[in-house]
Amino acid sequence: MTVLSSGLSRRELAARIALDIPEGSVVNLGIGAPTLVADAIPEDVEVVLHTENGMLAMGPAPVPGHIDPDLINAGKQPVTERPGASYFHHADSFAMMRGGHLDICVLGAFQISEHGDLANWHTGAADAIPAVGGAMDLAIGARSVWVMTDLLTRDSTPKLVTQCTYPLTGLGCVSRVYTDHAVFDITPAGFAVRELFGTATIDALTAATGLHLRDGRVVPLADGS
C-alpha cells in the first residue's frame, strides 16, 4: 500500500489555488488559511476580493505604522484598500453573497462529504462555544465554493468523508476541495481526483481516506499515478 509523503505547505497550496482564479473574479477568502490565497495572486492580475464586513477590492496588510483600525477584514485583521474599492453595510454585503454575486469563495473545513456537504463551524463537542459567522452564507451563496484544507487531521482522520458527522454548514454546496496532497472535484458520482501533488497517488489517497475515488484528472501530470 502506497503511503502519502508530506504534501504541499499551506503557502504552496494557496499559490496553487490562486492559479485557478480567473482574472476579473470576485472572490471571498473567508478567515484563516484561505486568506493566504490573496498573497499568491500576482499584483498585475485584477481579482476583486470581497470581505463580508462590507468591502470590495480589499488590499493586503498595511505596512507597519499604517494600521487603520476602521479598515479590517472578516478575520478582524488590518487590511488596505485598492483603487476601485467600495464600502457597504452588512445587509448589502450579505445580499451580494446570498444573491449569488460572488464568483468564488474559499473556505476551511472540518469535513466535506462526497455530496458536497460542508461542515466547518462546529465540532459538535458539548463544551465548544458555537460560532458560525458568515460561513453558512458563503456556503450557499458563492457560485463556486472551494475548500482549502489538509487531507487528514493531525491524528490522520480523513476530512473527506462519505457523510459528515459534524454539524453541517451547508448541503451540497462544495464544488472543489484543495488539499495538501490532491485537488478533488465533487461530481454526481462523488469525489474525483483532479490533480495530484508530489508523490501522491490515487491508490494512496484511497487508502488514506477509505473513499471510492474516481480519476478525474483534467491535465494528467507526468509524476501522477
Partner: protein, 252 residues
Amino acid sequence: MISKVCPSVAEAVAGIEDGATIMIGGFGRAGQPVELIDALLEQGACELVVINNNAGNGNTGLAALLAAGRVRKIICSFPRQSDSYVFDRLYRAGKIELELAPQGTLAERIRAAGAGIGAFFTPTGFGTPLAAGKEHRVIGGRDHVLEHPLHADYALVSGHLADRWGNVVYRRTARNFGPIMAAAAQSTVVQVDRVVELGAIDPETVVTPGIFVDRVVGVGERTWLREGAFVGAADAEGNPNPSTIESRDENR
C-alpha cells in the same frame, strides 16, 4: 429647529430601561461605539438583551458590559474569538444566554425590522442545526427557511460624522452593522467623531439619513485621524500608537 445633538454620552444613553433590547454596532472593534457602551455601563441598566455580531473581546467595550453582569442574553453570529474570554467564561458558567444566527441572516433580520418586512425565506442555514425547528419551504426548486425580523428598543451606533438632523457617514469597514441597526431600533443613538453643520455632508453620500436617528453625540476624533484623514497612529486594537503618527500637529 431640529437638534438631536446631546451634550454628553451620559445624556445620549439616558432612559435606557432594565430589560431593554439593545443593538450595538460594530464588527470586532471596527465601528464599536465604545464611548456609548462605557456610558451605558455607568448608566446602570441591567438584564439587557444585546444584539451584536460578536460577544465582545478583551476587557473593554461590550466585554466590559458583559463582565459587569448586565447582559442577560446575546444574539450574535460569532461569539468565539481569541480574546473573547469574558463571554466564554459567562457562557460556560451558564450565566448568559446565546442565540446564534448566521451572519447574513442576522443582518437580514435586522434589515427586515427596519424595513417593515414581516418575515422572509432564506436559503442560508437550511439543513444545519441553526435551521432546526424553523419553517421550511421549497421555492424555485431550492430549500429555504423562514426567518423573522429582529427589532430592538435601542441601537447604539458609531459613525464618523453627523449633523444635527442625524444624517450620518461612516468610515471604511466601520460602517458594517450601523446603518441597518439604526433603522431597526425604536430609538437610535449615534456617536461620531465630530458633529458638523447641517448641509456639510454631501446629500449623495449620506449613509444613514436622519430619519433613523434620535440622538447624536460627538466623542472627539480618534488619534489616528486628523480632519477625518488617516495619519497612521494606531495598532490593530485601535490603541494610540503615537510613534507612528505622521506629521501630527500636537497643537490642534
